[in-house]
């Protein structure tokens, strides 16, 4: 097991490095620098600034400096468009908000999706099953950027129950719609995967044996069926995590939650390369670490996996 973890880590580290170098080269190829503005700075000041951030060095040294700053000090350098702010300040402002509603949405999607899928499989071909299948088919075409306006239309404009945007840490009213808009389509996918794998497991030989032994259905489901049925769901969690982070960009935009996605879009519109780079790298690292955790969990749960 330890071998497997070390091997996976060995693979994750170069991936992260490639991501950073790739992003850096992209940034370098783009026209303009962090200190180019319409009114030219005095050359001494420019030279000082460039020396501070290492921009006077040759390219390969710059990459090394950027890598060193990012990896050792977690420092993404200055923002290109806000002269007085660093990328780190912007990240530390937006990231906690995204993390808060993102993790709630993730847990919500997994819990409700799995329960819906399991219930649909247990009560196969019942009204509940048809309802679950209907929801999963419908939610395929309701991605977050469609759900968000529809939710606002219903709950803010027609019913007036929930605020249409903004963010307060203490007030759950502001969290409901971002979470639901973000989670719906993933909940549906998870429910679909759970349902089909649960149906398959319930027809497997070992479940028939437990039935023949006369074990109660409840015990069979909880102790024998659920674990193998959840394996496909587990492998879907990695992609879900990535898509949720991506989806949070829309949520931040549409609900003005002030999260990381808002900064990303603003940075994109202002050509603030270093902020975009910082967010891309942060998201990439999170993605890689998350898929590492999922892989390890998978190897731990599934005895068929050899490492």
């Amino acid at each position: 097991m330890l071998n497997f973890i070390i091997k996976r880590l060995f693979f994750a580290v170069p991936t992260i490095l490639v991501l950073i170098v790739f992003s850096f080269l992209l940034m370098h190829m783009a026209p303009g620098g962090p200190f180019t503005s319409e009114r030219a700075l005095p050359p001494e000041i420019l030279a000082n600034l460039e020396a501070k951030y290492g921009l006077d060095q040759p390219l390969h040294r710059q990459i090394l400096i950027y890598l060193k700053n990012v990896v050792l000090h977690f420092d993404f350098g200055p923002s290109f468009s806000y002269k007085d702010r660093t990328v780190n300040e912007i990240l530390s402002q937006g990231f906690p908000i995204t993390l808060t509603y993102g993790s709630i949405a993730f847990v919500f999607a997994v819990l409700s999706g799995v329960s819906l899928g399991v219930l649909a499989a247990i009560y196969h071909n019942s009204l509940l099953d048809y309802l679950a299948v209907g929801i999963t088919i419908g939610a395929q075409v309701l991605p977050n950027f469609v759900m968000a306006p529809i939710l606002v239309l219903i709950f803010t404009l027609f019913l007036g129950w929930l605020p249409g945007g903004g963010w307060e840490y203490d007030d759950p009213k502001y969290i409901i719609m971002p979470v639901v808009a973000l989670a719906t389509s993933f909940m549906a996918s998870i429910a679909r995967i759970t349902r089909s794998s649960m149906l398959e497991v319930m027809n497997a030989n070992h479940i028939r044996t437990t039935r023949a032994k006369g074990l109660p259905t409840r015990y069979i489901i909880l102790h024998h069926a659920l674990k193998p049925a959840l394996l496909p769901v587990l492998s879907y969690l990695g992609p879900t995590f990535v898509s949720m982070i991506t989806g949070s960009v829309v949520i931040d935009m549409f609900f003005s939650t002030g999260g990381m996605g808002l900064h990303f879009v603003n940075a994109a519109l202002n050509r603030d390369y270093s902020v975009m780079m910082g967010i891309t790298i942060l998201v990439g690292v999170l993605t890689i670490l998350f898929s590492l955790v999922v892989d390890i969990l998978y190897a731990w749960i599934d005895p068929k996996i050899r490492y």
Binding site: V242, T246, V250, V265, A268, Y273, T280, T287
Partner: protein, 320 residues
């Protein structure tokens, strides 16, 4: 074929009559003819009502995208000064003033804009999926067929690229190299082939130990020709299914980026941009601006998903 046995006998006329008769008999007994894999699949597909309905809707949407422009009373970028300023009261859908779908908040004809958005969204979906099909199939087939260390390296590269949050990278590319449809194609195409290559590689691995590949190798066919002539035709079914499911994903990706205002630029538009505009103005009581693009978006995605499911049921040997 029964009845054809006494051919080229002595009495030519009589035999020709006989063979004509037998030909007619054969034609009227279709169950004797062998059914190809594709004929079987077609039959199964036609029996799937949802898939056929999806196909019909998709054809209607394509007709709308191709010929809807002729029906429009206004070009998509012309501002109607009669309704501007009173869009909520005067800009609604009506046949009287020629704005079948109403106008947007700037007084532009929504019908013409939805036609144009449909064209662009469908084009992005199909071109993106086509890039994925060509690049992913070739990459996966080569990796799977060659195998060994080459396969290992090629698939590690795919694994690495998969770990990149690609939506962010596409937006990064768009911002750095200018927002244009062609850049959007490059960005989407660059990263859409990864899943396809994995699926194709898996299929190729199971194909390459079959007898007919061995026979081809034994007769000295070159590796490239084996891949092109023997492996690829056998992959067509799987590739067709995943390509159909890829198109809606590409449309979703493009709509997502355009919804953020980073994709297709004015005066061009796409479903994502139109939905974004409609969502931005819905509190002024102009709901049609959200409803029409959303309607086309939803029915098209539904059709593609249903067609994809139907194709999978028709072609996937696992479920037979």
């Amino acid at each position: 074929m029964p009845g054809l046995t006494p051919k080229y006998g002595t009495k030519y006329m009589l035999i020709r009559k006989n063979s004509l008769q037998s030909l007619a008999d054969t034609m009227s007994e279709p169950e004797i003819r062998g059914r190809s894999l594709w004929a079987d699949a077609r039959k199964r597909f036609i029996h799937n009502k949802a898939a056929v309905a999806g196909l019909a809707v998709l054809i209607l949407v394509s007709v709308f995208a191709s010929f809807g422009g002729w029906l429009a009373q206004y070009p998509n970028d012309e501002i109607d000064f009669m309704v501007i300023g009173q869009v909520a009261e005067l800009g609604g859908p009506s046949f009287a003033n020629g704005h079948y779908f109403g106008t947007d908040d700037l007084g532009r004809d929504l019908f013409a804009r939805v036609v144009q958005g449909t064209q662009i969204s469908l084009m992005v979906g199909i071109v993106g999926a086509a890039i994925a099909v060509v690049a992913g199939t070739l990459y996966g087939a080569i990796a799977g067929y060659v195998g060994g260390q080459v396969d290992n390296v090629m698939m590690r590269i795919v694994d690495m690229l998969m770990a990149i949050p690609y939506m962010f990278v596409i937006i990064l590319l768009l911002v750095m190299f200018g927002r244009s449809i062609s850049m959007l194609f490059v960005g989407i195409g660059l990263l859409s082939w990864l899943d396809m290559s994995r699926i194709v590689r898996g299929q190729t691995l199971s194909l390459k130990n079959k007898e007919f590949i061995e026979a081809a190798q034994a007769t000295g066919v070159s590796s490239i020709n084996i891949i092109l002539r023997h492996i690829l035709p056998n992959l067509l079914g799987v590739v067709a299914v995943y390509a159909t499911l890829l198109v809606p994903l590409m449309i979703l990706t493009e709509s997502f980026i355009s919804f953020l205002g980073l994709g297709v630029q004015e005066p061009n538009t796409s479903w994502g941009a139109l939905i974004s505009e409609g969502a931005g103005t819905m509190q002024y009581g102009t709901l049609w601006q959200l409803a029409f693009p959303l309607f086309f978006f939803v029915i098209t995605l539904f059709s593609f998903f249903f067609i994809g499911d139907g194709l999978r049921d028709a072609l996937d040997p696992k479920d037979r």
